[in-house]
């Protein structure tokens, strides 16, 4: 076949793909409409909310002193880019533009470790399930593992225990597989996600890439299913989220369309059957992994102002609240059922002074930690009593 003929086939294939995607979108829309629960002509935006309202569900309301800043963790000298709680005890690891990881005791605000990184351009960090190790990655394209119990070197620095080398682009996000200290999943600017075996330092599986069906642009985030650790989702600059099974590398199990910009962040919903996303298009969305339905869009109108990007999200332990950090410093607390903003942590007392770049909930769901470009981390917790009207 000649190059000209191949190019013709290429163009025809693109048209067929677009046509099929449109048919799929319309068929999903019909499934939403068929229920008669739509409240609004834009039913795709308000589906879950319309359903919840039709059942008479009441909105969560917050008083001004209900969710308050209990701690400000000061110590970084650069923007905070990433944070993670340890599953076992109240410790937090944070990564910053200053080229350091800091491990904090959330109860006392004490710093237990300040790790100077071999490459200062760090973008992500994660705590291992046992709390013995931390991982980080960034523009060096590698994922570095530090054992917190190791002896420091002559300069007082904690040495790198393992280096996971293999990505062809920057490492944007990393997460340990739950209940295992030996497996970690990374996402990268090389359009792939990789499952690593930390004991050997080798790649176990590569998801996507040149010869496999996967993301077609930089992958920015991953989230592993807490109820089934073989399943994870990834978000990308190609505007899609993809669902993967770690046993099947050849293709994504499902692709979730809908966002109109980079998918910067995503997290599984506590029940493990849904996940939320946050994007450059300023929206958060809730998708169902079993059928691909987009159940809800969370979006606040900003008038003529520039739409702020969503940088980070987390669900509360019941799933009733969705925390979303934005590029303008806002941190909206959404009522996930009714798709309404119930609080803005960006405008309360002691709020951050710059963009919120990362956030995460403690293992027991009692505290939220936010990290910001103002170099601080803040811990928020429930401070009063509240009525569900």
């Amino acid at each position: 076949m000649s190059v000209a003929e191949l190019k013709e086939r290429h163009a025809a294939a693109i048209e067929a793909v677009n046509d099929l995607r449109e048919r799929l979108k319309q068929r999903r829309q019909q499934l939403l409409d068929a229920d008669g629960h739509k409240l609004h002509s834009f039913s795709l935006l308000y589906y879950l909310a319309g359903y919840a309202r039709s059942l008479g569900r009441s909105q969560v309301t917050f008083g001004p002193t209900d969710l308050v800043c209990c701690r400000t963790l000061q110590g970084h000298t650069g923007k905070v880019y990433s944070l993670d709680w340890t599953p076992e005890r109240d410790r937090i690891v944070s990564a910053s533009q200053d080229g350091r990881l800091i491990v904090w005791n959330a109860q006392t605000s004490q710093k237990t470790h300040a790790i100077k990184l071999p490459c200062a351009w760090v973008m992500t960090c994660a705590f291992s399930p046992t709390g013995q190790s931390v991982a980080c990655g960034g523009l060096d394209g590698m994922c570095s593992i530090f054992n917190l119990n190791s002896a420091t070197d002559r300069d007082g620095n904690l040495p790198v225990s393992v280096t996971l080398n293999g990505h062809k682009g920057y490492v944007s996000c990393c997460q340990y597989v739950p209940d295992e200290d030996i497996h970690i999943i990374t996402s990268s600017g090389d359009q792939t996600c990789v499952l690593w075996d930390i004991t050997t330092g080798l790649r176990t599986t590569v998801f996507g890439g040149e010869f496999q069906s996967g993301h077609t642009a930089d992958v920015l985030s991953v989230s592993i299913n807490g109820t089934n650790s073989r399943v994870f989702v990834s978000g990308s600059c190609d505007g899609t989220a993809r669902l993967w099974d770690t046993r099947v590398a050849s293709r994504a199990m499902r692709t979730f369309q809908g966002h109109e910009g980079d998918v910067n962040t995503l997290k599984f919903f506590p029940d493990g059957n849904r996940f939320g996303t946050g994007s450059d298009d300023g929206t958060c969305r809730l998708f169902d992994i079993r059928n691909g339905h987009q159940l809800q869009v969370y979006y606040q109108q900003h008038g003529d102002k520039e739409v702020p990007l969503v940088t980070s999200i987390a669900f509360s332990i019941s799933g009733r609240l969705l925390f979303a950090g934005y590029s303008n410093g806002d941190c909206y607390v959404w009522d996930t059922l009714l798709a309404r903003v119930v609080l803005n942590l960006g405008s309360v007392k002691n709020s951050h002074e710059n963009r919120i770049s990362c956030l995460g909930l403690s293992a027991d769901g009692s505290s939220l930690c936010t990290g910001s470009w103002d170099t601080n981390l803040k811990i928020w917790a429930f401070g009063g009593h509240r009525k569900v009207i």
């Binding site: 068929r27 879950l48 109860q107 605000s109 159940l295 509360s316 609240l321 059922l337 009692s366």
Partner: protein
């Protein structure tokens, strides 16, 4: 072409140099790349066709919305409280607001120690397990947020200063830390100190009876 010499003759202009074009080799790399792109797209087409077929078998979306709603309503959330439940006020204290909830007097979260960040059982203060309070690490608190956390060892459960409210200028929870000794309170005079029932647990208390006739150093028979 060289011009002819002599006479009036037409001089042919020199043509600019015209190097030969390279031979037309087949662009194998470009062809392979194009073929790979087409294969990827055809694969994507088959995935989309599979998905279109599978969508036909899906339930109406309201079923999945019901699952979400049922899950959320069935699970409690530490960041959301139910109607009429009050917190012990620990968080209020931590953020600078005083706790005047009388029900909190037996709660270790009332210790004023910022080390006990979590108080998950404090929906009802009487259930709070004071023995878990590991206030020994309080010394690390230097932040201005920890205004009361200077106690070296906060033994929350033993504070029985029943008279604290009369002598202490600050709420009782701070008095437990022994920063404000309720021994400013003057003991009542008693005619028979042996039957004096007044007790003070504050360590600074000299445990001396002011009875004129008493020669014992401590009114407390246990001392």
């Amino acid at each position: 072409m060289a011009a002819r010499s002599g006479g009036s003759s037409f001089v042919q202009p020199l043509h600019p140099p015209s190097p030969k074009s390279p031979p037309k080799y087949p662009d194998l790399y470009g062809k392979r790349r194009e073929r790979a792109k087409v294969q990827m797209l055809e694969r994507e087409i088959s995935f989309l066709e599979e998905e279109l077929k599978s969508v036909e078998g899906f339930q109406p979306a309201s079923r999945y919305c019901k699952e979400v709603t049922d899950f959320v309503m069935a699970n409690s959330d530490p960041l959301i409280q139910l109607k009429n439940q009050k917190s012990c006020g620990f968080w209020k204290w931590l953020c600078g607001l005083p706790c005047f909830n009388m029900a909190c007097t037996s709660c270790c979260c009332n210790s004023g120690c910022c080390c006990y960040l979590k108080c998950p059982e404090c929906w009802k203060c009487s259930l709070c397990d004071c023995s878990l309070c590991n206030c020994m690490s309080c010394k690390c608190c230097t932040s201005s947020d920890c205004i009361a956390c200077k106690c070296s060892s906060c033994d929350c459960s033993s504070c029985n200063c029943g008279s604290c409210f009369s002598c202490c200028k600050v709420p009782k929870w701070q008095c437990c830390c022994r920063k404000m000794c309720c021994c400013n309170f003057q003991p009542p005079s008693c005619t028979n100190c042996c039957s004096c029932k007044w007790k003070c647990y504050c360590p600074k208390c000299p445990k001396l009876c002011n009875c004129f006739s008493c020669t014992k150093t401590c009114c407390n028979p246990c001392c």
